[in-house]
Amino acid sequence: MPALDQPVILATVLVYLALVVAIGVWSLRRTRGARDFFIAGQSIGLWITGLATMSAAFSGFVFIGGPGLVYRMGLASLFICIPVSFTSGLLCWVVAKRLRLLAEVRQVYTVPEALQARYRNRAVSGLAAVAVLLGTVGYLGAQLQALAVVIEAVFGTREIFGEASLAVGMAIGLVVIVFYATAGGMVAGVYTDLLQGALMVVAAAGVFFYALASGGGLESIARTVSESPELGPAFLDPLGNVPVFTAIGFLFLFGVGTLGQPHMLHKFYMLDRLDSLRWMPAVVGLGQTACVLIWLGIGLAVPALVASGALAPLAHPDDAAPAFLLGFTPEPLAGLAFAGILAAIMSTADSFLNIGSAALVRDLPAALGRRRPDDDAGRELARGRIAVVGVALAAALFALVYGDLIALLGTFAFGTFAAALAPAVAIGLNWKRVTAGAAGASIATGLVVNLGLELLSRRSDLAGVALPRLPPGVLPGVIALAASFSVLLVWSWLAPPQRLDRDVERVMEL
């Protein structure tokens, strides 16, 4: 990313970081036990939960990677973000009510705990915890890498620290996130998410209108792109530049796969009342759609600017957003947008710190048959805080030492969560016939198929070996998700149903 040596951008980012730290201090006194630390005391209303869900779901990828993808592959890339049109409704109709009701009758703070309550099987919740930890390392490591790049660009640390600049940038970001995530747990998490979500929406909407204005309006931009000899009409064809299996595969994976994302599912435990769900799809969906505007706006404006000669061709597609923000928006809006990018990265990272910490402190010990520490004595809260620091340091270390591996894990973390967890959670919480065997087989299938196909497709050292190859354009995550659903559904039709606990059965009937 180019250096952003402009004082207004620096000042905006500093004000944002100071606000986040202030929320951490404020939350410290409101976090008295594990329930506060992991699910914000189950006292969060519609707007905060909605914006927290939205900001946790969107990482910096939406602001940087998205416009870069449009620059590279045209409108087909929008199928990654377009599912936001229905995913909030999908979450609310399929899982939100059941998860919130489970938290009403059981001490359920995490997705593996919900699966334990539903299936009464430690292998199922243990497998889910492993999937959560694997995905967390990938997601968190990738967020920390992105954080380091943005902080380096904003503060110009490369001139001072040279080769160590990225590590310093990562350390600066990590100190801020770990401070508020440790001090205030999920209480700090959701209130910073509120700030971060609002910032993301305002910045994205503002940049969208500037992007349209920069090219003379939507139609003028589209015609410039369409008439350009380099881009041509295929750039505007949703199924033009990539195979159908890739484009619609994005829609399937990033739409249906949302049902397996723990950082989104986790938010439903925190709701104060079930009634708060009524307008949840509207709040989450509108917030997400507003954020997606930056993807669409910059994604269309930059190719048009390049085609008209107003901007030099980009050396790297991911430079699309920084190039547009620095060259075509007023400095205060650029500052707001870069603070929005940091917000998007940090809100996702803090959600994963909390989830990773819960997996270490609650899910894995429970799966191994260990008793939880007594929270009255504050031991679980203390362990949760220590685990946050541990997860953060481990992810940072992995991101620095095994940068390529983390980048790889980050790219398929969404698919890992989707394939491993979506069927067992979404179908399992609604259909009594799903047994522990079906859920366990589905989670294992999702994990093995997704990780196996992703790793095989990237192994260049096996070039001489005959490996199973997917047809062109088919996404490994789509195969894994469909296989995981198939296993769970077919097994459940064939196997006899198992008995459920009465309260869980009632949760599934309401």
């Binding site: 109709w93 009758v105 309006g217 589209a222 505007l236 199924l239 009524r278 047809p471 559904l489 309401l510």
Partner: protein
């Protein structure tokens, strides 16, 4: 019954997605698109159906989503490779307009408003919630 039909359709749909992904040709593409477009609405039916498996008022917005996704994705398939053929709609070539207005914006309105307006048909009343809490306080059977 709606839930049972939806589960059966999801079973077939997941196998179709898997099989078509591993095949090639126009028929495989069409099967993949139709099954992938149906999946979200079918899952919503499974989640929204009440204890008797009936869907109630939520049937309307979910059916709307199903029709919108199927129609729009199929239209994009038909318009593939001939962006200019469908003319321009609201500042975009027809295929792109279908993608932005038909797949991004229309389902948003259907789902957000449909969920809120039919919430009472699948929400949980306070007496139901009290009975659930009471059930949870009892020791487990067996």
């Amino acid at each position: 019954m709606a839930r049972r039909y939806a589960l059966a359709a999801l079973t077939i749909g997941s196998v179709v997605i898997l099989a078509s992904s591993l095949s090639s040709g126009a028929a495989a593409e069409i099967a993949f698109v139709l099954a992938a477009a149906a999946f979200p609405a079918l899952l919503m039916v499974v989640g929204a159906a009440g204890s008797g498996g009936r869907l109630g008022a939520a049937a309307w917005p979910i059916a709307g989503l199903l029709v919108a996704l199927e129609a729009c994705l199929f239209a994009m398939l038909l318009l593939r490779g001939q962006v200019e053929a469908g003319g321009w709609v609201l500042g975009l070539p027809a295929a792109a307009a279908v993608q932005i207005y038909g797949v991004l914006l229309l389902p948003q309105a259907l789902v957000a408003l449909g969920y809120a307006l039919t919430f009472d048909s699948f929400g949980v009343s306070e007496p139901d919630l009290d009975r659930l809490r009471e059930l949870a306080r009892r020791p487990p059977a067996g």
